[in-house]
Symmetry: C2
Subunit: 339 residues, 2 copies
DNA sequence: GTGAAAGCGCTAACAA
DNA sequence: TTGTTAGCGCTTTCAC
C-alpha cells in the first residue's frame, strides 16, 4: 500500500501538519525537522494522493479539452498544442471527443468528467449561435471555433474573414481571376464556412473581380473525399477556373488529387490554396499553400484564459468579469501549389 | 455551490445512505422513496462528486494512455480507438505524450498523474528490452508496441514478422523481384524495424529471391521526410528496383512523392507498399496498399486486459497472474499502388 | 515551529 | 428497507 502523510509523520517523529508543510512549502519548518521529513519521504517513496488533495482543495489540476475527432489532423495538432501549453502551466489535459455532433456537444457540457476537471476548452462544431445559452455553465469554459460568437463564455478564435480574404488575395496576386471555392455551406453566415466565404467575396469585390456562383463548391463535411467530389463536380460542369481556394487543407488535398488525375498541372493550370497549415501540407505533391491559423497561439491563449478563470473562481467563488473575445493572428504560407 | 448527498437527503427527507443507494443501485429501495429521492436529485441538479467517490473507493474510472506524439496520425488513430474502447467500458482516458523519448517514457511511469489513473496503456517507443525491469510497477500496466517483449507487464502487439512477410509476399505475387525496403534500423533485432525487416527477409528467402543489401534504406525516424530522403538516396545510387516496402505509411507516402517527382509511375515502374493503414492512405495518389495492423482490436484488447487487471487488483490487492502476451490479427490491404 | 482536530463528499459496515 | 457512523488522505484553522 502506498505511504500516506501519517506514515511519513510517524517515521519522522513529527505530526502530519509538519509533513504537509514540508511537502507544500506552506509554512516555515526548522531545517533539521525538514531534513528528517525529507528522509522519511524518500525512504517510504511517499507521493501525495492527488485525489485526496483534490477533494480537500476543490481543484484537480486537470482541464478538459473537447474536440470533434482526434483522427482529423487539425484536432490532433490542436490537442498537441493545448497539451504543451497546459504542461507549461502545470495542468494536465483530459481529451474527449464529440464527433462534431450537436447532441454530444450538449452532453459534453454536463458530462460527469466535468467533476474531474477544473475547466473546459471546448472546440465547438455542431452547436450554433442559437445554442449559446447552453454555454452559461458554472465552471470555467473557453470556446474555440467559429460556431458561437458573443456567447456567455470566453472565446478564442482567429480572424476568419480576414484570413480568407488574404488567402484569396494571394491567388489574385498571381493573376488568377477565376477562383473557385470548395467547402461552402448554403446560407451559412457564421461558422467557418460562412466567414471564409465572406472573406473570399470581400477579396473579389475589392479587386473588382466578378463573383460567379458556378465557382462555388458546396460540401457538408470537410474531408478529403468531399474535396475530391466537389472538384469532380466543378470539372464536370465545364466552368473555367484557374485557381481553387479550399476552406481547409483536407478539402484542398482531395481536390488537388482530382485535378491531377484529370491531367491538369498544379499550379500551372490551377493554383490551389488550403487553410489550416496541417503538418502534411508541407509534404504533399506539390506542397500546399495555406493559411496558418496560429494553432499554438490559440492553444496558449485558451489555456491562459482558462487558468485565469479557474484562479478567479477559487478566490472569489465565481467570476463576474464579462466574457472575453480573443482573436489571434494568422499568416499566409506560400508553397508550390501557388508559385 | 454544487449540491451534495446531504442536500438531497435533507430535501427528500431520507438519510444519505438511501440517496447513495438510489444513485448507485447498491441496495433495494422502496419505489416510493426512490421517487422522492430522484425528484430531489433533479430539483437540485445533483451530480456525484467523483473526487470524493475516488478517494473513498480507491479508483477513479480514468485510465492513462501514453503515446509518443498525437500529431503522428498513427497515434491519433490509436488514441481514438482506445477512447472508443474505453467509453464502451465506462472508462475515461487521460492522454499523455512522451515524444518517443526514453527519458520521458521512464518519467511517465512515475508521473504524478498515475495517482489519478487506475492503470496505464503505454505505447513504448524509446525504451528497449533492457529497460524491461522498469515496467515492474505497482499499478496495472499494458504495453503496446514492439520495443519490449516478455517484460513484467501485459503486452498487446501485432504479428510484425508475419505481417511484413505477407506484405513482401504481396509484392512478390505481382512478379516484383527487386524489392527495396525503407525504414530499416542498422542492427536492430526487435523493435518494429527489426521485426519487419526479418519478415521481409523471410519472404525473400522463401521465394528464393536473393537479398541485395543495396536495396535497404536506413532511416532513424519514420516521418515523411525520411521516406523521401531514403528514396532519393536509392534513386541516386542507381540500383535497380521495381517495388518498395516501406515500414510505415508515412515513409511510403514520402517515398512515393519522390518516385513520382523522378518521373516514374506507381505502380507501373515501382509498386509501393506501406504499413499501418492510416486513414489517408485511402486518399493518396495513387491510393496506397498497406498492412492493416488492426488498431481497433489492439485498442479493445488493451483496454479489456487493463480493466481485468484493475478489477483483480481492487479485489485482491494485487494481481499475481503472469503477464500476458497478446497478438492481434493483421490484414493486407491492396490498393492502387500495387495493382 | 509544531500539534490536534475538523471536515471536503462519498461509500460501506453495522445497526435498527 | 433505512439510518448512523467511521473513515479514505489531505489541508487548514486554531492552539500551544
Amino acid at each position: 500500500m502506498a505511504a500516506t502523510l501519517h506514515d511519513v509523520a510517524r517515521l519522522a517523529g513529527v505530526s502530519i501538519k509538519t509533513v504537509s508543510n514540508v511537502v507544500n512549502d506552506s509554512a516555515p519548518v526548522r531545517e533539521q525537522t525538514r531534513a528528517r521529513v525529507l528522509a522519511a519521504i524518500s525512504q517510504l517513496d511517499y507521493r501525495p494522493n492527488l485525489t485526496a488533495r483534490s477533494l480537500r482543495s476543490g481543484t484537480t489540476g486537470v482541464i478538459g479539452l473537447a474536440v470533434p475527432e482526434l483522427r482529423l489532423s487539425y484536432f490532433a495538432e490542436l490537442a498537441d498544442s493545448v497539451m504543451k501549453a497546459a504542461e507549461k502551466r502545470g495542468l494536465t489535459v483530459l481529451i474527449e471527443q464529440t464527433n462534431g455532433d450537436r447532441e454530444r456537444e450538449l452532453e459534453m457540457l454536463r458530462s460527469p468528467s466535468r467533476r474531474f476537471t477544473d475547466g473546459l476548452i471546448f472546440s465547438v462544431l455542431g452547436m450554433g449561435n442559437e445554442d449559446a445559452e447552453f454555454l452559461r455553465v458554472d465552471y470555467p469554459l473557453v470556446i474555440l471555433g467559429e460556431r458561437v460568437f458573443h456567447g456567455p463564455a470566453d472565446h478564442v478564435t482567429m480572424r476568419n474573414v480576414e484570413a480568407a480574404r488574404a488567402a484569396t488575395e494571394h491567388l489574385l496576386g498571381l493573376g488568377r481571376r477565376r477562383i473557385a471555392v470548395i467547402g461552402a455551406h448554403e446560407g451559412e453566415i457564421i461558422g467557418s464556412a460562412g466567414l471564409r466565404f465572406a472573406g473570399y467575396r470581400e477579396a473579389l469585390d475589392a479587386a473588382s473581380v466578378p463573383f460567379d456562383p458556378r465557382l462555388v463548391g458546396y460540401t457538408t463535411l470537410w474531408h478529403r473525399s468531399n474535396g475530391a467530389e466537389a472538384m469532380r463536380a466543378l470539372l464536370d460542369s465545364g466552368v473555367e477556373f484557374d485557381a481553387v481556394f479550399a476552406f481547409n487543407d483536407t478539402l484542398a488535398l482531395g481536390a488537388m488529387r482530382v485535378i491531377q488525375e484529370a491531367g491538369l498541372v498544379v499550379p500551372r493550370d490551377v493554383a490551389v490554396m488550403g487553410f489550416d497549415n496541417l503538418d502534411e501540407t508541407a509534404y504533399s505533391i506539390p506542397t500546399l499553400s495555406t493559411v496558418d491559423p496560429g494553432r499554438e497561439e490559440i492553444a496558449e491563449r485558451a489555456v491562459e484564459v482558462l487558468q485565469e478563470r479557474i484562479r478567479e473562481r477559487s478566490r472569489n467563488g465565481a467570476s463576474l468579469a464579462a466574457p472575453r473575445e480573443i482573436e489571434t493572428a494568422f499568416r499566409i504560407v506560400g508553397r508550390e501549389s501557388t508559385v
